[in-house]
Amino acid sequence: MNALLHQVLSGLASGGIYASVALALVMIYQATHLVNFAQGELAMFATYLAWTLIQAGVPYWGAFAITVACAFVAGVAIERIVVRPVENAPILAVVIVFIALLVIFNSLAGWIWTYTIKPFPSPFPSQPLFGNSYVSSHELGSMAITLAVLLLLFVFFRYTPLGLAMRAAAQNPESSRLVGIRVGWMLALGWGLAASIGAIAGMMVAPTVFLEPNMMGGILLYAFAGALLGGIDSPGGAVLGGFIVGVLENVVGAYVGTELKLTVALVIIVGVLVVRPSGLFGRVHVTRV
């Protein structure tokens, strides 16, 4: 029983990471109805940036802030320069552009920082908090940060004019344009925010999986699974989905075998898409013929 509890708790911790990446995916999906395959590699690249800063002697939280800011700028730049031209192109062209971004960031990271595995520091103490024996303080800390990010996003979208403008631009671009919202820039801001969230997720996951160019491959899949499970157009659902996938993945890994962890993601993705394509909390899409 204790072992199961332990698995569930550390599942929740990794679920927090998946939830953050899923949230980033959902943000871009809501704004542009596209799924960003390069999300994980962007996060990985940002994490390398943080690692370089920390190696150069910048204190952890300073490096954290700089990385999040850089990721934001990079996200905006990518939307304006690379994604813009294919905005209205067929899906295949968009997917190919995202895959191109994925391999470019992956290989750039390998080129600059080599493929050797690097340890990444955790900002949290190495002793478990409150004398508990179930969950490490890094796991607790990263869960807390995930939830804090979620809360901040909620406040931003719900209570600020800019957040309202971004929601409007995503829901009804034409009307938004008529009332003076610069829709193109709102999309770019969405990309920036998603890249920042991804960067935070990368920095939170790096201490447990170690830093290397392919570290986000599996995580991106779990995030996809989480986002689809919760509903690709529902931020709250995506977060819950991320947590569920984290727990499932850990429990299956412990009791069935770690070799099947990625297969769990595959089964969840195909299962959800076939049985309930809109996810738990997503809107059902109706196509007009």
Binding site: L34, V35, F37, V82, P85, V86, N88, A89, P90, I91, L92, A93, V95, I96, V97, I99, A100, L101, L102, V103, I104, N106, S107, L108, A109, G110, W111, Y115, G217, G218, L221, F224, A225, L228, G257, E259, L260, K261, L262, T263, A265, L266, I269, V270, L273, V274, P277, V289
Partner: protein, 361 residues
């Protein structure tokens, strides 16, 4: 009554019309700029070109080193996989980021049959194809409900899961786990005075010719038109009586069959299969191949195969990461500047040099 055209053929005519009709301008961006029609009948000069190329391909292995022959053999196997992926993605518009998984299934089928059941190498190829046809058809059935992006996500998950599945303990007895399987290189039959590499080259070339003729016939006929119609106008295709579900999952199956045969040929040429040879990036390599070669084009498979076989060899000397950086840059450049790939580019250059406009097909 005699003036009325026969009823049975009437519904078929609009399909051809719909396919031949120009694509609306706004939809014509990027990918749709690829040649929209299925291949037509071979004109005489095409036939001459094919025969000359085939003669060249047969003569080539007698003039180059064994190692180069081996590389060309791998490129030919890739070309088969690329044609399969192009049927699915280029012609039918279903995006697969997981064809490396079917490539792996084909390779493992051949290796296991040779290693555990002592089958001769040539007999494993059709079995690998049939196994992948079934696997692809089964994966294609749920995939029917997935459109565009979702299919891409699901197939990407398949690509990531495949190496892990191959390592699983329950099938370790068959697959050899992480170690993989080593197979024996076949000798040329009938006492032919050629090297093993030369024989394998001809063996793969023969399969390639058969599969390309079959694929070309499939794509230029009714089925090919149905596939393109589903890609461009799914609703209209359905309204005209195309069984879209059947065509889509059958396309998935046939496309997996091509990938599986390519995987089996690759395994026999390399004499080794292991889970780590089938990383998710293999699937992305195949996607790179069809984009560079030319979406919805048959000759594009060769350009793409040469690209993914030889460009990494050159770029490798620069850095381990360089091939992938190049792949990425090429993908972006082709999507923006040459969405019809090398094959489309060659076609346009040829059209410019040709004086007379193309006659009626």
């Amino acid at each position: 009554m005699s003036a009325v055209p026969p009823v049975t053929t009437a519904p078929r005519v609009p399909v051809a019309d719909a396919v031949a009709a120009p694509v609306p301008v706004e939809a014509a961006a990027a990918v749709q700029a690829a040649p929209a029609q299925p291949p037509r009948r071979l004109e005489r000069r095409h036939l001459v070109a094919v025969v000359v190329l085939l003669a060249l391909a047969c003569a080539l292995p007698f003039f180059i080193a064994n190692y180069r022959i081996f590389q060309l053999t791998l490129a030919l196997a890739y070309a088969i996989a690329l044609l399969g992926l192009n049927m699915l993605t280029g012609y039918n518009g279903q995006i697969s980021l997981g064809h490396g998984a079917f490539f792996a299934i084909g390779a493992y089928t051949a290796a296991i049959l040779m290693d555990k059941a002592d089958w001769p190498y040539w007999a494993t190829i059709p079995v690998a194809g049939v196994v992948c046809l079934a696997a692809g058809f089964l994966f294609g059935l749920p995939a029917l409900r997935l459109e565009g992006l979702y299919l891409a996500v699901a197939t990407l998950a398949l690509a990531y899961a495949m190496p892990q599945i191959l390592k699983h303990k329950a099938i370790e007895h068959w697959t050899g786990g992480v170690q993989g399987i080593v197979i024996v290189k076949p000798d040329p039959p009938w006492g032919l005075p050629i090297s093993q590499d030369q024989w394998l080259y001809f063996f793969v070339l023969a399969w390639l010719v058969v599969l390309f003729v079959v694929g070309w016939n499939l794509l230029r006929g009714r089925i090919g038109r149905a596939m393109v119609a589903i890609r461009d106008q799914p609703v209209a295709a359905k309204a005209m009586g195309i069984d879209t579900a059947m065509v889509k999952s059958a396309t998935f199956g046939v496309s997996a069959l091509y990938a599986g045969v390519a995987g089996a040929l690759n395994a026999i040429a390399v004499q080794f299969v292991a889970p780590d040879s089938f990383q998710p990036f293999l699937s992305i390599t195949l996607l790179v191949g069809i984009v560079i070669g030319g979406l919805a084009s048959i000759s594009g498979a060769f350009w793409g195969a040469l690209f993914i076989q030889f460009v990494p060899n050159v770029a490798d000397q620069l850095s381990k990461a360089a091939p992938w950086a190049l792949y990425g840059v090429f993908l972006l450049a082709f999507m923006y500047a040459m969405p019809f790939g090398v094959a489309g580019f060659v076609q346009r250059v040829a059209a410019r040099f040709r004086r007379s406009p193309r006659g009626p097909a």
